[in-house]
């Protein structure tokens, strides 16, 4: 049995402890906002928060998250995620949408650490998130817009 917290709820999973957190979230808990893109931490579609820091769930076995707090896109709360999602919606960032949960998780994590990120900060924080539709122009713009919203 592996015990951890997901979106504030305690879970207790009786599955192979090697199971990547990604598949536990999706197959066992039906939290499907976290996406499978590569399985080898190359694309970032599976990004979740692990004890408050962004983490690629596809290469994180559940044995590693025993006792930890996991937050998925469905459970995100606070001013940063609200500002990021509002900015995403205001300029229609998504195209196919598959990567966007991961993009939004990484962008939110960035704004939690750096209130007014530079383009360089954005390049570094978002380097692990691939958008195959290449919506990067709007991702960058939306992060700047969200930062402005948070400044008030």
């Amino acid at each position: 049995m592996t015990k951890f917290t997901v979106n504030g709820r305690e879970v207790d999973l009786d599955i192979d402890p090697d199971t990547p957190l990604l598949w536990a979230l999706r197959d066992e808990l039906r939290l499907t906002g976290t996406k499978f893109g590569c399985g080898v931490a190359q694309c970032g579609a599976c990004t979740v928060m692990l004890d408050g820091m962004p983490r690629r769930s596809c290469v994180t076995p559940i044995s590693m998250v025993e006792g930890s707090e996991v937050t998925t896109i469905e459970g995100m709360e606070g001013p940063e995620i609200a500002a990021v999602q509002a900015a995403w919606e205001a300029i229609d960032v998504p195209q196919c949408g598959w990567c966007q949960s991961g993009q939004i998780m990484s962008a939110t994590a960035l704004l939690q650490q750096v209130s007014s990120p530079t383009d360089g900060d954005i390049n570094n924080a978002m380097a692990g998130n691939v958008c195959r539709c290449a919506t990067y122009v709007r991702i960058r713009q939306a992060i700047h817009d969200a930062a402005k919203t948070l400044e008030g």
């Binding site: 192979d16 999706r26 080898v40 196919c96």
Partner: protein, 713 residues
């Protein structure tokens, strides 16, 4: 499947009811579908209006990021005089009779045709619904229909002061005769078409709520992965499933035509089971050549000239020219790599099958699955996490594989077929590798007097179920864009050598233009430079007087980029023009030399796609097409090693463009009253040649093969 929320206000204010619907398991989503299907007013196959005033448009084209949910709904809303906030969209189920692509004659999405083929059909559908709502109001209020107006979702009669939303009129509207040929608006009266409109799927895609194929879970469902042959053309000789069956969660192993299928209670068990499977492959019919060896064969074929597919004037002018330039170009196989890997869900129950997946060709996928299973098949078409051509399968191979796993299971049940990233990158269905030979002749004054381009590659359609589309002729998608150039070259000949090998090939975003545009536009630039001509003015001078739209985008992109020539302040500038799928696009690239590799800082794009239905979507597609093309040009090749195995397997060896590599993009849309054409693909082709031209201008290096970053074989 799921109606998509549009109202940002509703969502931000906590429109819990609707978002809840999106996030609930499939049962609730199906109830929503049923509710839309049973809406009180369904004037035609495309429109459902509920008593709650919501208008749901059944979208016959796959939403894979190019915006048909928004675009087709805009066309309906325009003629219906609806308010944009009341519009919803959902994927239409597989039904060739109701939802055919009018250009294909079957239900399918591709070739940047969604808006073009739907433009009048969706407007007529909206106009018919509007006429019935007006007739209903006239009947209820006892006033002449001619005195009734509709604006932003409100039906009004000024003289009596009566007004109503659509919802209250649905019951009466459903009783009205359906007008056969309702009048549509004069384009000057458009309210929605031509202005920016928030996309209908943005909110669901920004919250994790959007439902894609991989997000579908059915009761008792097994996840299935398939061990495919490691070489093209190989087949299963034998397999040992003891190790796989020992994995906890693995339920069964079955051989199917495409390989060996592992069925498990969850995805991880299926993958672990497949790793433990021991398969021996029969490679007697397999492709064992490397990409290099194939290119050698392609070069020999090109040297023989190919079949003539376009000819003008007397090419002996070339032999007598004052100066002759020649170049050979090599383009690798390319994978589409949509970020949602390939997948499909199928449920076999009581002699019927139901499927859920991002089917791009429902018109082929449905009969293919039905033929394999021998039972009726329905397909719920879901959002797709990208395609770029990958899901437009002439062979219907994903629908077929899903049907085969359901059939091989030997019992009723639900099955989710999942391909991993490695399965997709190694699995074929690539943009065909191509080799081009070009020759051009200049007279003493620097005028082009002859142009020859011979192309060697595989046909996408030949040998497949869609071969009939060729009508016995050559596959034009193999050389489109080498043929059909607008420039006055004097004499010209375009040749094509059809190559055959077992590597499966497929349309890749902008198809033939992905390589023909690069070869033609970089070679032309080199020829213009040899003649001492400016890349922009040189192109304009080659256009015939009637080429107004070609001229329009070239002049516009020169204007917005502040074109002064191919170098400025240590940076290179290159232009390229490519017309594809009826849309005219010119792009200018600004490039810097960073440690011997190109870094693109800015791109300017001018696009003429006829009436711009939604400029916001058009700009998005140009931005995305530019990034998609740039990542590919810089990094990507699928190569076969000696022996025939694919050398790339995931994004570590087939790199994607990252945010730091994305240039700033400025898009200018040419105003037009012409019928609209597509935008999903046409932003792609000019980017790589514009980059090649900028790079040659800056460094003197001629890039005769892609990608820039490395060898392709």
């Amino acid at each position: 499947m799921t109606a998509i929320e549009t109202s940002r206000r509703g969502f931000l204010a906590g429109g819990a009811g609707l978002m809840l619907g999106l996030m609930l398991p499939l049962g609730r989503a199906r109830a929503q579908t049923a509710a839309a299907a049973a809406a009180p007013f369904a004037p035609n196959a495309f429109i459902r209006i509920g008593t709650d005033d919501l208008v749901t448009v059944m979208i016959k084209h796959l939403e894979m990021g190019q915006g048909p949910y928004t675009g087709l709904s805009t066309l309906v809303a325009e003629e219906l005089d609806a308010d944009w906030a009341q519009m919803r969209a959902m994927g239409a189920p597989a039904d060739n009779a109701l939802y055919a692509n009018l250009f294909f004659g079957m239900q399918g999405t591709g070739g940047s045709t969604a808006i073009a083929n739907s433009f009048m059909q969706m407007r007529k559908a909206g106009a018919a619904a509007r006429a019935m709502l007006v007739a209903a109001a006239a009947e209820e209020w006892g006033v002449p229909a001619s005195e009734i107006t509709v604006k932003a979702g409100v039906v009004s009669h000024a003289a009596s002061g009566k007004s109503s939303g659509f919802g209250a009129l649905t019951e009466a509207a459903a009783r009205q005769p359906v007008p056969a040929d309702p009048p549509v608006k004069d384009p000057k009266d458009f309210v929605l078409i031509g202005s920016d409109r928030p996309k209908l799927d943005t909110v669901a895609k920004s919250t994790g709520a959007a439902v894609f194929t991989m997000d579908v879970y059915r009761d008792g469902m097994l996840t299935v992965v398939v061990a495919h042959p490691p070489k093209f053309g190989a087949t299963v000789a034998s397999f040992d499933d003891k190790g796989a069956l020992a994995v906890k969660g693995v339920e069964m192993i079955r051989q199917i035509p495409s390989g060996v299928a592992v069925y498990a209670t969850n995805t991880y068990a299926a993958l672990k089971g497949r790793d433990a499977l021991a398969v021996t492959w029969d490679e007697a019919g397999a492709e064992t050549r490397s990409s290099d060896e194939m290119f050698d064969a392609y070069a020999r074929a090109v040297a023989e000239g190919g079949v003539t597919v376009e000819e003008e004037g007397d090419l002996s002018a070339l032999a007598n020219a004052a100066q002759v330039l020649e170049a050979e170009y090599r383009f690798p196989y390319l994978a589409h790599a949509p970020l949602e890997p390939l997948d499909a869900v199928i449920e076999l129950k009581e002699g019927k099958a139901e499927m859920w997946f991002g089917s791009q060709f429902p018109g082929l996928d449905q009969p293919t699955a039905a033929a394999i299973l021998g039972v009726p098949v329905t397909i719920n078409v879901l959002l797709a996490g990208g395609s770029f051509g990958r899901r437009a399968q002439a062979s219907a191979h994903i629908a077929a594989e899903a049907a085969e796993i359901a059939k091989a299971a030997g019992r009723d049940g639900a099955f989710k077929l999942v391909w991993t990233r490695e399965d997709d990158l190694k699995g074929g269905y690539y943009r065909p590798m191509s080799l081009h030979k070009l020759r051009a002749g200049l007279d003493a004054e620097g005028n082009i007097v002859g142009w020859e381009n011979i192309v060697a590659n595989q046909s996408i359609l030949a040998g497949g179920p869609m071969e009939a589309m060729l009508k016995g002729g050559p596959d034009t998608t193999s050389f489109e864009g080498s043929s059909g150039l607008p420039y006055r070259f004097g004499a010209r000949r375009i040749g094509w050598a059809k190559m055959e090998n077992p590597v499966s090939v497929l349309w890749w975003r902008s198809v033939g233009h992905t390589h023909t545009g690069y070869a033609a536009e970089t070679f032309l630039d080199e020829v213009l430079a040899a003649a001492g001509k400016d890349p922009v003015q040189g192109r304009l001078d080659l256009l015939p007087p009637e080429a107004l739209r070609e001229r329009g985008v070239i002049e516009k992109v020169a204007e917005i980029s502040g074109w002064t020539g191919p170098t400025r302040d240590g940076k290179g500038y290159g232009i390229a023009y490519v017309k594809s799928f009826g849309t005219y696009v010119a792009e200018v690239v600004e490039v810097e030399d960073r440690n011997g590799l190109p870094h693109v800082t800015r791109v300017w794009c001018a696009v003429d796609c006829g009436i711009p239905v939604n400029p916001n979507v058009i700009r998005a597609q140009m931005e995305g097409g530019i990034g998609f093309a740039l990542g590919t040009a810089l990094h990507d090749a699928i190569t076969l090693a000696p022996g025939g195995e694919v050398q790339q397997s995931n994004f570590d060896t087939y790199p994607m463009l990252r945010i730091a590599e994305m240039p700033a993009v400025e898009v200018a849309i040419i105003p037009s009253g012409a019928d609209p054409t597509g935008v999903g693909e046409p932003g792609v082709p000019p980017l790589a040649p514009a980059l090649g031209n900028a790079w040659r201008a800056l460094t003197g290096n001629k890039q005769y093969q892609l990608p820039f970053g490395g060898a392709i074989a």
